[in-house]
Symmetry: C2
Subunit: 208 residues, 2 copies
């Protein structure tokens, strides 16, 4: 039986929740112990009782993001039939992810990527690990679609994952920065082309 | 005849040069009047004689980036033959852009995008304008390739520009964050697929 959370665990969860939403808008670097403490209605020293340093808080925010990404993007696709339906669910869940109510500023991973690419350290290492895992998940889903006979046997699944992620990155850029009302339409059109060229070609309907 | 730059113009150009390289690594938000002044070996008040505010400096750094992007990416493609060769040159120049010696931290536009997407104001407006212009340049190049009979007449040139930019965004992510040695190979493979599906189909070699 799962134990009820202690008061300390509840406080920690509340802080992370607030810090997570803030990181979406101002980035991981924009998180300050002071502003997070204020948002959680506690003192700075109260916050330090739960997080050893700003970097510790940032790391735990990224870990929270990974947990939620698994919950909302990776896990739900498993209830879809193996093969192309699962790949499609993964893509649609990922598009929806950046629109989550608790991510008012869009995907934390994408904004963290721009912040951390020139800053070596444990935070960057952890981010890279999460990105590689997301790509592996896409590769695995594509590999299953090959095994199911939906995708061609000679499909380069690494390239597939790269191309899928390109579309997600572009969606974030066109939707959030350019306010392009066609951003989702463009993303789905690109993804449809990616599916088309990944499928087993049907003889008798070439190029269709 | 062009006049020799005044001492003041030279100083301003030096400050912008240093600020530009710094922005590539630490982002536009990371630029502080103090750190830029230090890098240009002058006092903060000396710097304020050239730039009214931090935002003014950031805006001029973005303007510098646009000038260099035009010089290195957009203009050189014009010496290539009209049509597909020009589209290819644009793409290759754009890949090379993020590797420029004076951009040690990669493309300033991409890092600025993550910083500014949630910060309304003149800086964000200017960035959006530059991004739309880069996309229009890609669209125009694709439209010429249609007119030259290289690309299909029913090509959606907006989608083409979107897809081309997706590949650039992914290249930045895979190369700079993930240190993926195949980043350029993957980018070119995606671009080749984009060209293939944009070309006029050749009868007698379907799907090739």
């Amino acid at each position: 039986m799962r134990k009820a959370p202690t008061k300390g665990e509840e406080t920690r969860a509340l802080i992370l929740k607030r810090a997570f939403a803030m990181a979406s808008a101002v980035g991981l670097e924009g998180l300050s112990i002071g502003s997070v403490a204020k948002s959680a209605e506690m003192s700075k020293s109260g916050l330090f009782a739960h997080f050893a340093s700003k970097e510790d808080l940032q790391l735990q925010v990224l870990q929270t993001a990974v947990e939620r990404f698994i919950e909302r993007v990776a896990r739900p696709m498993l209830s879809e039939p193996r093969g192309e339906p699962r790949v499609k669910a993964f893509f649609e869940n990922w598009l929806a992810w950046a629109e989550s109510a608790d991510l008012p500023g869009g995907c934390v991973f994408i904004s963290a990527a721009a912040e951390l690419d020139d800053r070596p350290g444990p935070l960057r290492d952890y981010l890279v690990k999460t990105q590689r895992e997301a790509l592996s998940t896409a590769e695995r889903a594509a590999r299953i679609a090959v095994a199911e006979g939906h995708f061609r046997a000679d499909l380069d699944v690494e390239q597939f994952a790269h191309d899928l992620y390109s579309i997600i990155l572009a969606y974030h850029h066109f939707h959030r920065l350019l306010d392009d009302p066609k951003a989702a339409f463009r993303a789905r059109a690109s993804f449809d082309r990616l599916l088309e060229r990944s499928r087993i070609p049907h003889f008798g309907r070439s190029n269709s």
